[in-house]
Amino acid sequence: MTDTTAGSASGPAEETDYQRVQRSPEFQDLRRRFRNFVFPMTALFLVWYFVYVLLANYAHDFMSIKVSGNITVGLLLGLGQFVSTFAITMIYARWANRRFDAEADELRREIEEDEL
């Protein structure tokens, strides 16, 4: 079942199958969950990245403070960018594999088998 032409039979004024799915509470819920996860996460890592960039650019003295030996605050914050990137990657993959996929797959099955 690869019904990619859903809705093409109906006239232009009528609502297509995809619009019907889009309006359905199941899809609205799926979209809300997706956006509620992805948008704040994106804002978070972008803000953290630019805080780092601005510090590296305009707060040289702060970034040059030595924590231990030749390990500076700047190095630790830079490595912190690596840590946060790995962490967000894992958190997202876990969330998507466990929560999002099941719902999306169910909806997809219903669409392709015309149950909605």
Partner: protein, 548 residues
Amino acid sequence: MNATVRAAEATDVGNPVVNIAIFAVFVAVTLVIVLRASRQNKSAADYYAGGRNFTGPQNGTAIAGDYLSAASFLGICGAIAVNGYDGFLYSIGFLVAWLVALLLVAELLRNTGKFTMADVLSFRLKQRPVRMAAALATLAVVFFYLLAQMAGAGGLVALLLGIDSTAGQSIVVAVVGALMILYVLVGGMKGTTWVQIIKAVLLIAGAAVMTFWVLAKFGFNISDLFQGAIDMAGPGGEAMIEPGKKYGVDGTTKLDFLSLALALVLGTAGLPHVLMRFYTVPSAKEARRSVVWAIWLIGIFYLFTLVLGYGAAALVGPEAISSAPGGVNSAAPLLAFALGGEILLGFISAVAFATILAVVAGLTITAAASFAHDIYANVIKKGEVKPDGEVRVARITVVVIGILAILGGIFAQGQNVAFLVALAFAVAASANLPTILYSLFWKRFNTSGALWSMYGGLVSCIVLIALSPVVSGSVDPATGASLSMIKNTDVDFAIFPLSNPGIVSIPLAFVLGIVGTFLSKGKSHPEKFAEMEVRSLTGAGAEKAVSH
């Protein structure tokens, strides 16, 4: 033989015969693999998307192979070795940028598109003008990226194979170009992907060995490694571990740093050759897995480059690196020679060539798909073309692009490689990313907004670079020599002070997308947006894998 010996003495680094032998083995092995992979190339989906049959980990490794270009390996090591902490920004920006691709683009793109970025952009907008704009932006990004790789290949030869003459380097550029044409022509996306996978494994393994070796020399104490770099740099060496060595000079250079940071973090999710990789896997879930793999591999590799960069600073020294034939780009090979002699140098230089070869192949197939699928099949033939006819055009395109890249590479020899790569990133972030995000997430977005944003981003980016000090008017205060692409110091039309245009062109492209959308009387298509949104999130009706 005499000439080879003389050349070896000229650079005093390594044994060209060893280098060439290791390189030849790599080429032979990969060619066999490409030939085997090509036996199953039948349809357009096979040729452009490898039959959509690669697994997430395989594709993730190939993405890492595509992404870790000569600029990443040689460029970042060199930047850290010479500029210290400021070079670290490249690693961080290049890595964090992957989160944009992971969270906002990869899976949605896999679910709605077919072969190219333009498939997604034209999904609910007017096909022909949007495809045309997207294909032109793709070709622009690919062309600048290609020039950088080819020019890098020519420059590296000076150091690695001991070929100093311009003619000799031109021949090497031509050989690299011809090999690349062969790979792509015969192997298509499947063959290219396998080359990327092998190269990524070799590159990461080689970097891991060198990292371990450097750390062992300093008793696995990072602080001691930094002390080595500080001591080697001489008086004022403390600046190596502090920010601002390169970009902290004045307000303008600081603005340039911001501009670079912006282009780096937003460029990746708009790079067409990276986006195209998401179509080589069977589903959105595999696209996600491949990005997760890519992020781990790329992130770990960039941690290695931090050690390698400071290692080169401590064991070779910034001055020795800057005055070597390959300049800043020679930091990693020189470090390999300092550590493991000519065998390690031979291995690392073969890997560096393989890197260039593989990245060039990946770029070429993207440009070929973009021309054949978007411009030829959908704009010129209006979609009425047989699939094998499209593949035939793609193959011809590969040859044409290969020849252009060879000529461009010969012409661009000795020019600033980092500038060309940064330009590719800035063009991708300005011309592609705003339209990709708007068309995925903004219901009201329309054709006019897309065209304003894409052409506005593309043109402003290229014009600003042309008017920047990178092209003309930058003079080294100490020597009086030109640092720009135009070597005549009397020519100066650099009215834009920054070398990276991102801080202007990227926000401009985002704003133009909004302005263009609201100024247009053309209506948006809610029914197409519904289809796109439902498909992108659920995967209904997505392109399936090809079964053989």
